[in-house]
């Protein structure tokens, strides 16, 4: 029998603030990562800035870890959070790859002429 306190432990009073801050930062860092990545790809920023983008993703993953451990999430939720982190990492790649592909495929069409089918 597992100790029930292991299943649903209390959140320590001092942990609430770090939890809220880290969970807000998860998406803010994540947004910055995705933003810089896209900006580099559409040539608003120099290519080396991609390093900064990955740096922000690392921060995102770290914040997720902090948030999850302070909240004492269970096994299942921990896995869900890892999936979300990986999803966020791949997201801009996938979006950029797909959009660019479509763009190239349609480069010679005149805009507004296709009927979308």
């Amino acid at each position: 029998m597992i100790d029930p306190l292991m299943i649903r432990p209390e959140i320590a009073l001092a942990d609430f603030l770090p939890i809220f801050i880290s969970s807000a930062l998860v998406l803010i860092f994540g947004g910055v990562y995705v933003g810089i990545y896209t900006a580099v790809k559409v040539k608003y920023l120099k290519p080396w800035a991609i390093i900064i983008a990955y740096g922000f993703w690392t921060l995102t993953a770290y914040c997720l870890y902090v948030m999850g451990s302070l909240m004492h999430v269970g096994d299942f939720t921990a896995k869900a959070l890892v999936v979300a982190a990986i999803g966020l990492f791949l997201l801009p790649f996938a979006v950029y790859y797909m959009e660019d592909n479509v763009h190239k495929n349609n480069e010679h069409d005149t805009q507004g002429e296709e009927d979308g089918k």
Binding site: P4, R8, N101, V102, K104, N105, H108
Partner: protein, 232 residues
Amino acid sequence: MANKSVWSDNRFWQRSATWVTGFAAILLIWLTFDTSAQISMGTDKDIQNKVTKRVPGPTVINYKITYERSPKRGLEVPIIGGNDGKGNSLFQEKEKFFGRDDWSEKEARAMLHLGKLGSQAKNCMDCHTLLGNGAYYAPDLTKSWLDPMWEDGTMQAIIGGTLGKELSKEEAMAEFLQHPELYPTHARQMPNLGITKKEAIGIVAFLKQMSSIDTNGFPRNFGKMKGAINGK
């Protein structure tokens, strides 16, 4: 352009969107069937047979209700009619509700019906929260039946003192609901909503039944911590 990839094919994504949406919707509907069965309201027979339902039937008002920690689930659950020591309801210990503890299923159901209707007709949810949903201008009512303000007799003393008679918990609650403006507990006062005596009794029955719903441990530690540690 050569080699058109599937990832940039409009049709592919249109189909994917349809499949994903369809799959999610079917899963939700399937879960809805399961959940609906689990949250359907119990009956008096269930209580007689000591069957714990997530939403007990209206005759639960004949029993004593508490909110205690279940060691098995690691959270607080409503306990009806006494605790067997392992966090399960015994359905034994009765409690008088407006002087009786033998309300029939029909009578109890009628009270609950009136109370639920009343809770909507008076827009309770636009100041209070019920099961945590609603507005945040007034206290949560999920476990209000078990609130220490009523459990320890504070409110009964205030209301009974004003009326010059001794009142049970449910009588005091019904009195408060009819004339909330006479018993202010905070600068923010509940207005008089024209609740009649019969409606007030119904609403109290509704609140008592709501406190017996298994809410997976929400709210946490309800009434276990007495007195402010630091209110600022």
